[in-house]
Symmetry: C2
Subunit: 454 residues, 2 copies
Amino acid sequence: MGLLDLENRALITDFYQLTMSASYFQHNHNPAAAFEMFIRRLPENRGYLVFAGLEQTLEYLENFRFLPEEIAHLKANPVFKHIPKSFFDFLLELKFTGEVWALDEGEVFFAGEPIVAVRAPLIQAQLVETYLLCMINFPTLVATKAARVVEAGRGRPVIDFGTRRAHGPEASVLAARAAYLGGCAGTSNVYAASRLGIPAVGTMAHSYVMAFKSEKEAFENYLADFPENAVLLIDTYDTIHAAHLVAEMKGEIRGVRLDSGDLLQLSKSARRILDQAGKKSTRIVASGDLNEYRIDELMRKKAPIDMFGVGTELVTSKDAPALGGIYKLVELETPAGSKYTLKLSSQKATYPGMKQIWRKTGDKKFYAEDVIGCAQEKMPGRPLLRKVMEKGKRIGKPPALKELQEKAQDELERIPPRVRSLTSPGHYPVKYSEKLRRLRQKLVREIKHEQGLL
Amino acid sequence: MGLLDLENRALITDFYQLTMSASYFQHNHNPAAAFEMFIRRLPENRGYLVFAGLEQTLEYLENFRFLPEEIAHLKANPVFKHIPKSFFDFLLELKFTGEVWALDEGEVFFAGEPIVAVRAPLIQAQLVETYLLCMINFPTLVATKAARVVEAGRGRPVIDFGTRRAHGPEASVLAARAAYLGGCAGTSNVYAASRLGIPAVGTMAHSYVMAFKSEKEAFENYLADFPENAVLLIDTYDTIHAAHLVAEMKGEIRGVRLDSGDLLQLSKSARRILDQAGKKSTRIVASGDLNEYRIDELMRKKAPIDMFGVGTELVTSKDAPALGGIYKLVELETPAGSKYTLKLSSQKATYPGMKQIWRKTGDKKFYAEDVIGCAQEKMPGRPLLRKVMEKGKRIGKPPALKELQEKAQDELERIPPRVRSLTSPGHYPVKYSEKLRRLRQKLVREIKHEQGLL
């Protein structure tokens, strides 16, 4: 498939990762390093995030390598003209041999918390940054959006209908996976459904209705072919008229779909028309620019809708379409032992050293507080970061997607309701341990001194 | 790469495309059909869109096929239990044999205009809908965003720095291509750069500065390795302090990068410090949550910035992260000849039949008006839709990406300035031909009559 075969992915990185690596190599500076990924601020209206994308990140790390033709092309770039051949030979042999700590997919997290940590030789850890961020940022956005949309639906199934509006075909597959992980009940994406065991869900399109002589003929044909599963789209010409057509049809009909107009009024009218014809079991599916806010409103107004199809808003996380996940150097081995590192940039400061998060439960089932401390500390609460990769090999088998969905559901139910609010959510308390705060203070002084800033 | 190998892409479609196809097949209803893709409304603050994504769409169509294991999996889905084996045998043999008309990539277009038209047997045209929409919607968003950001930069080069925030790795590659097509001067994405011949651009990361004992050592090391190309990142600890460090370094330095803080004030200070040290040729690169609005403001306030790196906002088209491109059945062969089709849904009505767009130039170089008419009409102006695929094979060779960038630049310069405005742009006149309007009126009456709505 030309440009998009993407069979080998090491080159999906930022150019500076390669120039910096060349420079590290030249200066014989490739010590063990630790980097952590975290989110500085939660997106608007988000009180929490649902972690996703780890599985594909680990796959990437396990398969990380450069192909000879890729290296040949790089070497020819005049930017590298002072870099000796030995660096490119080194790249050709390079594999990812490091250690990865991460949250479980489906775990809930908050701003400032380390969600993935990589411990590897500096050059390896640097080269994988871009892909790792990309592969966590997007699925996490969608899993979070799905959790919100599902919460708004109050138990009614929500289906991912977003493939056509995703940021390319691969994004549609990643989104289908993340949406299911975050609580959706199915996807329209056939590839994702068949590869991941997600229920494939579909109704019919306007073109189907238009392709037959009449709406009635289209409905009858579809029902004949899918007697148990026909969900008939009733807004191609006139919704109320089509609802009457369905009401007059013989036998049980699985459902009807509304895709435009005033969904509250139309669902009420359709329900009444179907009920009057004795079609109480016929479900009403609604779609068309839905999101958590509109679904919440429909539910509050008691719209008789049984299932929601959500597309654009879900797969692009439209009201928060980017997650600012960042990956920062926190530790570096030196001949004198570990050196902790941090950034002082205005508004963009970081905390030093590898960390752990401990999550404490309050007197009810709800989570009460997280504490971020140095990795080697012992603290009360459940530690959230687990070692998932060692010497470049994943530890254990990847869990089934269904298990991750259940994990996410369990976790979501333990977030305090005010933090789960769809708008202006409350702040969940995340603290830093005494030891970590002291380490930071000490280091800030040292760095200011070393860099000549005092 | 497991889930993301995506070697065969026919399954990246909505499930209903397959159920509808099964039903068409069952009813022996697979006439020649025509579908058109268009955008109903321009996203907010957009006065125009830049067409992109055609190349990858045509690649998909040329390679469209189902694999035996994919079909076996589908057939096992109980939804298809009344569908005979012959349908699945039919799918196994299926290729795309149709005809495609489209705008050139880089062409500018407006709401309501058909941008891709597919003429093929109904089932084929239906099955490719989802992928086609997905593959045009996203690149078009990014090419458009790029055009806006580049316009705001008033001639200063803009580089795509967005890979880590794209909606997955493939989206980062699609975005790099579309951004270049829309006017960017380079990308940080090494894969896209090496596959597409886009200049690869990079500076250094904060981690590079932090990985050495001091900022000064880091700067000196990088400069030694990349003497002609070193762009030194100066905001890791203290920007002004680092600018002085750079000013005191020996020799010519290609550039410095600012990535946080008040870019206007910091760029002015850095410029002054560098100039006073005789480093007038050292360029200032700015990055950090930039978009067309912020760049426009910086330029209006005369920030001495020579190059912009734009990431998140560019690759997600953050203020308009989804494009509502739709694909509607407009024509169907019947024994009695062509049947035109349209939708009457409230707010979602369509125009019937295959169409053409004619673009007229005014007395200056600017475009004055587009007219959408029936495909077979003859009208003054330049027709925009070209036949790009016949019998499932692309016509001619794909143009070089650089040519598409030049095409886009030429077209953008001919859009009236008020339509190109970054906020509240003026409306570009798009009209329907007399013949097309009459055809629609006639058809609306006929459909209302046929469907029993009159």
